[in-house]
Symmetry: C2
DNA sequence: GTCTATATGTTGATAGAC
DNA sequence: GTCTATCAACATATAGAC
């Protein structure tokens, strides 16, 4: 976004594809190390020293590139969550387009909302993105609240609108609550809290059917709330 | 536990009900202050200084009574969660007794599991217990994992067994996953993440119908998972 | 039992050499 | 750009006076 007229390099063909710019490499290494540590131990429990040590640079280098720990955190989250949410928003838009006139099937809406979280698009990066997204819901409000609302607010509103179209008879307020239940189930699953109860050995292809089960669970839950609304149980 | 033969004071009738023992009062003030701070800002983000300052005592007093920050944390959790889980276990046992021969209704099981979390038994203490329980699911694993398993493990196993009896046709592994979705929705709601989407002004009597909605949602979700199992979708 | 004083380590952030 | 050196503030925990 900042450099708009600089997308392609003008004159030098840049023959060697090797170490482009050292500064960029450092910045990237810091982002990667921070992402891993933040996702594993949370934001507050991760020190700048741990991050810079894992990245193989000094603390000052990190502060030069990002200015503060909070800024580094925000950069990491934006980097990971933006990609993730872009896919989720695109999937929701696709469903909205396919069902522009009729009510979209609730399962399709939920698949668009939940699916991208579990798709193994990138090998190591994806697992990180999930955990970071989950951390945004668990770490202390004063550090994560604003960031969470910025990153997830629009997506949640879009989702709520689409769910309301899928269940037109439901009271919007109750649907909002049902959506929060859904988000809770999602966050808890993504946080890696699944193992203790189910054996859950191979987390490799396991994700695919976890999503399917989750879609069924949440769709049925939402329909139950909608039905309760339709029966006059608004209060 | 340490003082077993000292439960009741022997000879003096203790006429004044006022300041019993100063030491006990300090210990209690520390527990209360720690509970509030832990529930609001999480364990790692709360310092001993903050706790002791809020309690009006010195840091050494806290370390005298509890020995370490982790021990204080465990004392706080045990104090709050034990009460909470005792009520939940009792409710589950009551359901199991009432339906000793036949399959218990899923809604009854869920109400026993979820209801005590939202009952306003104690005015200020209850809100704290909820938030602390939620923190145990969100704070970094290295501080909360063991404690969480100790406190919630037995309850979860009891719950899973009862759910399996309510839905005999379901595959236990899938039921376990469905139970995790339920726990996720519960934790997220208890964490106070409800407001941003629903207006949710009066949290006073609001809780009652939040539970009802949640029971409907989770029961429908679990039944959907059980039905999918019965249809042969085990894998 | 509770305090003051202190030991010892870590935190996030900065100044200035290179 | 990246480092070393250093800062003040804070952390947990302990020793010893009262």
């Amino acid at each position: 976004m900042p450099q708009s007229a600089q997308t392609a390099q003008p004159s030098p063909p840049a023959p060697a594809p090797a170490p482009r710019r050292v500064a960029d490499a450092t910045r990237e290494r810091l982002l990667s190390a921070a992402a891993h540590l933040f996702s594993e131990r949370g934001f507050v429990a991760t020190s700048m020293r741990a991050v810079t040590q894992a990245a193989g640079v000094s603390v000052s280098a990190a502060n030069y590139h990002f200015g503060s720990k909070q800024a580094l955190l925000e950069a990491v989250c934006e980097h990971h969550i933006a990609l993730l949410n872009a896919r989720r928003l695109a999937a929701l838009d696709a469903v909205a387009d396919r069902f522009a006139t009729s009510a979209p099937p609730l399962e399709e809406v939920l698949r668009a909302f939940l699916g991208p979280l579990f798709e193994p698009s990138d090998p190591g990066l994806q697992q990180c993105s999930r955990a970071i997204a989950a951390r945004l819901y668990s770490d202390p409000p004063e550090v994560a609240w604003e960031l969470r609302e910025t990153l997830f607010g629009p997506l949640r509103l879009r989702m709520l609108a689409l769910v309301a179209r899928a269940l037109p008879e439901a009271d919007p307020a109750q649907l909002g609550l049902a959506l929060q239940f859904t988000v809770g189930a999602m966050v808890h699953s993504v946080s890696g809290n699944l193992e203790p109860v189910s054996g859950a050995a191979g987390s490799a292809s396991n994700d695919a059917w976890t999503v399917e089960l989750m879609i069924d669970y949440c769709a049925a839950g939402m329909r139950a709330v909608a039905t309760r609304t339709a029966l006059g149980g608004t209060r």
